[in-house]
């Protein structure tokens, strides 16, 4: 078991190296000049050159790359060009709203989508099944920002049930926090729910048609017991896999949702940093998101072993 964990962690290192290289090349090979943002439109060429030198942008690309790799290997993500604040503390400062949003969206999804998908498969072609199919198709087809704006228009502006925007920490005021969280987490959860309910349904359907389920049925087991005892554990692997892969979907959703609802999380920080060409912050955030993705999927790999003891690498 320990060997397995060590192996998987070792496999994550080259993946992160690939991520680092892609991110570095993406930012440095593109046109645009962060020095100009600092200096303003009317700055002279001498001032620009000086700011570039301060930031190390005048060194050869390969030197910049190696120096940067050395820094991040030691956990130094650098400081923001614009605000002069260390990237790590910028990220941690913005982490709470994003985590709260993402966790509540995952919670909604697991509590609603998995049972829905299961019922849909169990009562194949019933109204629940149809509803799940409609939900999953709608969730996949309507962009999150359109959903967000429609929710704001209906529940916030017209019905006045929830605040329009903003974030309140659950550690400060749990009730207000919850009210601020409802619309954004619904917006974020919808596409995730579409994905998970659909995968739950289809993997269960597949398993329900397999021989050992028929055998279980033939042995006289009642349907509900067949579903939960025999089919669910076998469907869990694809469902968990998709939750892991869906983390990427969730991160994309976070970016859009935070923009619509004005949440001060890492998603908005990323977009702001990209638009402002704040290289160290963009690099740091991309690495951070990649690390989350790799980490979550690592945990899921390990979870397989628990859910399905037959799997061994």
């Amino acid at each position: 078991m320990l060997k397995l964990i060590a192996l998987r962690i070792a496999m994550a290192v080259p993946v992160m190296l690939v991520v680092a290289t892609i991110v570095f090349l993406l930012l440095r090979l593109s046109p645009g000049d962060p020095a100009l943002i600092i200096a303003g439109e009317t700055a002279g060429p001498e001032a620009l050159a000086r700011i570039r030198a301060d930031m190390g942008l005048d060194r050869p690309l390969i030197v910049q790359y190696l120096a940067w790799l050395g820094e991040i290997a030691r956990g130094h993500l650098g400081t923001s060009i614009l605000s002069k604040i260390p990237v790590l503390s910028l990220i941690f400062d913005r982490l709470e709203p994003t985590l709260v949003l993402a966790l509540s969206a995952i919670l909604i999804t697991v509590l609603v989508a998995v049972p829905l998908g299961a019922v849909a498969a169990w009562r194949h072609n019933s109204w629940v099944d149809r509803a799940v199919m409609v939900l999953s198709v709608v969730g996949f087809s309507v962009p999150a920002f359109v959903i967000g704006y429609v929710l704001i228009l209906l529940f916030s502006v017209k019905a006045d049930l929830f605040p329009v925007q903003g974030y309140v920490s659950p550690f400060e005021d749990p009730v207000a926090s919850l009210r601020h969280l409802v619309l954004p987490s619904l917006t974020l959860a919808l596409v995730f729910m579409a994905l998970i309910s659909r995968v739950t349904r289809s993997s269960l359907l597949e398993i329900l048609s397999e021989d050992f389920i028929r055998t279980a049925r033939a042995k006289g087991n009642v349907e509900r017991r067949v579903l939960w005892r025999h089919a669910m554990p076998n469907a869990a692997v694809p469902i968990i896999t998709v939750i892991g892969l869906g983390i990427a979907l969730l991160i994309s959703g976070v970016v859009v949702t935070e923009s619509v609802f004005n949440l001060p999380g890492v998603g908005r920080l990323t977009i702001d940093a990209i638009l402002a060409r704040d290289y160290p912050v963009v690099q740091g955030l991309m690495l951070f998101f990649a690390l989350i993705y790799v980490g979550v999927n690592l945990l899921i790999d390990l979870a397989y072993v628990i859910v399905d003891p037959r799997i061994r690498y």
């Binding site: 690939v18 704006y149 892969l245 990427a248 991309m286």
Partner: protein, 293 residues
């Protein structure tokens, strides 16, 4: 009546019903998609040459007889913008999906077949998958500047690993089959084996995957537009029509609802078509899907 009979008879009947139903939905989706594609292709014929005419004194008119979907903040006809926008959005979707399928297939075939290549390519694919696709796309388009090329490339990039993994998994399962072994035994060059014997097995799942990627790519274009890094304003796409409507949404909701509806219906039709294809090509596909997970 035994439990077996009770369980089996409705399930048989259901499967038949399902096939019929799924095909009917798929058929309907296909027809709907055809209508949308035609309306996009014939956009100029339908709305006339002055589709993008800015009418300074007719801005933000609500939908009515003259302007079916109203006008936008520049007094342009939203109906015309939406039809023309379909051209670009569908083109982006198609190009990105086909490009991702082509590149991903090539890489999947090679990695699945050439063992020494496998760990390298798969780590690179893992790396790409670890970067949130939309952030990569926003960064690329924002840094390089929006054009058909960059937007398609940005969307394609994130989709490649999925195809690569899918194709690789099929190759891994097919290469042990006796006919492939036989072909290799006869000394047929690996390239030829790949193209002649292994590629055909990948086609069905690839078609389904490409359909889904087509839908996803259309959505990605819209999100890029929403985040302000879409096409220039003289190239209307659903993404930038939506983005422009965003500023006046609460006052003129048609500027979001009309393109949003077209976008949603198109993506829905493509997804349902994909479902139909998938169910149609079921037996082989479901096995492949399981291997890939």
């Amino acid at each position: 009546m035994s439990a077996t009979e009770r369980a089996n008879i409705p399930s048989q009947r259901n499967r038949f019903l399902e096939a019929l139903l799924v095909n009917r939905i798929a058929l309907l989706s296909g027809v709907l998609l055809l209508v949308i594609v035609l309306s996009a292709v014939l956009a100029t014929a339908i709305t006339g040459d002055d589709a993008f005419l800015i009418r300074p004194r007719q801005r933000l008119r609500p939908p009515g007889a003259e302007f079916w979907f109203g006008t936008d903040a520049l007094g342009r006809d939203v109906f015309a913008l939406v039809l023309h926008g379909g051209r670009i959005s569908l083109l982006v979707g198609l190009l990105a999906a086909v490009a991702a399928a082509a590149i991903g297939t090539a890489m999947g075939l090679l990695t699945g077949y050439l063992r020494w290549l496998d760990p390298i390519v798969m780590r690179i694919m893992d790396g790409i998958m670890a970067i949130p696709g939309i952030l990569f796309a926003v960064a690329l388009v924002s840094l390089v500047g929006p054009s058909l090329m960059t937007i398609v490339a940005a969307i394609t990039f994130a989709e490649i690993p999925r195809v690569t993994r899918l194709v690789r998994s099929i190759v891994l399962s097919v290469r042990e089959e006796s006919y492939v072994r036989a072909a290799e035994g006869l000394g047929i060059p690996p390239m030829l084996v790949l193209v002649r014997h292994i590629l055909p097995s990948c086609l069905a799942p690839l078609i389904v995957q490409t359909t889904y990627m087509f839908a996803a790519a259309i959505l990605s274009e819209a999100v890029l537009g929403f985040l302000g890094v879409g096409f220039p304003p003289d190239v209307p796409s659903w993404g930038n029509v939506l983005a422009e409507g965003r500023a006046v949404f609460q006052r003129a909701s048609w500027t979001i609802l009309a393109p949003g509806l077209f976008l949603a219906v198109t993506v829905m039709a493509v997804n349902l078509l994909g479902d139909g294809l998938r169910d149609r090509l079921d037996p082989r596909l479901s096995r492949a899907a399981k291997v890939s997970s």
